[in-house]
Amino acid sequence: MGLNEYIDIFLAVFTGFFSLIVVFGRNPVVCALSLLMSFIGFAGIFFQLGSVFLTTIQVLVYAGAIAILFIFVLMLINTSHYKYSQTKKSINPVLGTIFTFILLGGFTLVINNNIDYLNVDRLPTTSMKVLFVDLFNKYLLPFELATVLILVAIVASVVISNKRGEK
């Protein structure tokens, strides 16, 4: 149990703890902030797995842009009346939890059966260059389609945000 395992365990507990707060938190802003901390935890895990470029994207896009957007929205929406939102009965708490536990059991079974195959590290550290060469040779079309997707997202969000009526 060298230093690396301790860091692995610490990152796993860190991310798990903050994800629990995201799901069971009361105040939505506290949930958004703990989601940010779990994104940073994910970035640490990607770094431990040796993929450096994923750490950068995770911090720049997830922790640096999406989480800010959530906190902006929660600040913009007057959340003072959210306090009593918890009293309203949620749609399907019991059914949901039972289904999730069944799913969790199924997944753990799958992982347990072939943990020895999965646990071997066949790709120590992928340098950025190897990853990118693939990105521009094998995955050229998805790369260009992703830009079209972002263009659609830009147009859609601008149109949705300021409806003509409000102009």
């Binding site: 902030l33 940010l36 450096v52 911090v59 640096g64 906190i71 902006f72």
Partner: protein
């Protein structure tokens, strides 16, 4: 494990200790600089030339009563200054102060957190800087702080775009992310006397980066978040004594890191200044020290430039500031990238 820990603590003492020690000096330079520009004297009572005035301020901050207003969300209110300080300290881990030197048989890298991330690490941690401000504005539960923190954050993220576009152009030219490699490529010289600094390859990119640095660190003429005239004091309105001092410290640390990154990318980082080359030839062991001194000197010049601009340019209105960010700098960044790429492709 112990050896590694000692090495990390030693590096942190140098790379982090020097900026933390220099902050009172920068505060003093700012006050004397402002006085010099406005033809008045500035603080000169405490100690020689008022050099101990900032220390007196620190003591004042320590002894002031820690007032926690009743209406704030207490846990987040206390967390905000600490989180801002941590986010301001993190980028220092990626800043190299000198060349990797040989210690006995081992090659020692000067930066605290050595990884393949390089510039990405410094850029990503500065991108996280706006969370402390958001939490502070939200936790203070006050209309003006909330508005101030949202405006500060909107300004910081708009200028982060032009910062990253200039970074793309730089990576295109340097082809690598490792800061040591970038500084090594800036060591050669055009026609004998002019060093091949990034600024000569990317003059427009350098200007863009400079403007984005001013906006990222909320310095005048972009400090609308703390605009005394409209917003009383912006996001750190409900904070007093040491909590306010932490925000103050974080802002200066943020400024130092960004100017260090600026110097490393555009002005040849820790390459020796002309004079130092002779001394290093005599004492070869002193190369890291003099490289650190030349980096320190260049960052000090940048800090003086911050102070100089602060007291000579009026503050932007908020719509001018955002229009500049979105409608002037971003197209300039895109055009700069296009020209660089097409020029290199056409030439090479």
């Amino acid at each position: 494990m112990q050896g590694e820990l000692i090495e990390i603590l030693l590096k942190t003492a140098v790379v982090l200790g020097v900026p933390l020690g220099v902050i009172p000096l920068i505060v003093h330079v700012e006050r004397r600089g402002a006085a010099f520009i406005q033809k008045r004297v500035g603080p000169n009572r405490v100690g020689l030339f008022g050099i101990f005035q900032p220390l007196a301020d620190v003591v004042k901050f320590l002894f002031k009563e820690e007032v926690v207003p009743a209406h704030v969300l207490k846990p987040l209110y206390i967390l905000a200054p600490i989180l801002t300080l941590v986010m301001a300290i993190l980028p220092f881990a990626g800043i190299p102060i000198c060349e990797p030197f040989m210690l006995g048989a081992r090659k020692v890298y000067p930066e605290i957190f050595r990884s393949d991330l390089g510039v990405f690490y410094v850029f990503a941690t500065t991108a996280l800087g706006s969370y402390g401000i958001l939490i502070a504005g939200w936790a203070s539960n006050n209309k003006y702080t909330l508005l101030g923190s949202i405006r500060a954050c909107a300004q910081m993220i708009s200028y982060e775009l032009s910062l990253s576009i200039t970074l793309v152009a730089l990576f295109f030219l340097y082809g690598t992310v490792d800061l040591h490699e970038i500084v090594r490529q800036q060591n050669a010289s055009f026609f004998g006397f002019l060093p091949t600094w990034g600024v000569f390859y990317q003059p427009v990119g350098c200007l863009l980066f400079l403007v984005a640095i001013f906006a990222e660190s909320n310095r005048l003429p972009f400090d609308l978040a703390e605009g005394e005239s409209e917003l009383v004091a912006g996001y750190h309105l409900e904070y007093s004594s040491m909590k306010f001092a932490l925000f103050f410290m974080a802002e200066y640390l943020h400024m130092i890191v960004l100017s260090a990154l600026f110097v490393l990318l555009f002005f040849g980082g820790y390459n020796l200044l002309p004079g130092f080359g002779l001394i290093v030839d005599m004492i070869p062991q002193s190369l890291p020290l003099f490289q650190f001194l030349s980096l320190f000197f260049k960052v000090a010049l940048m800090i003086w430039f911050f102070v100089w601009v602060r007291w000579s340019i009026p503050r932007f209105r908020y719509d001018q500031l955002m229009n500049l960010g979105w409608k002037r700098l971003l197209p300039l960044g895109i055009a700069n990238l296009m020209v660089t790429v097409l020029y290199v492709y056409w030439k090479g």
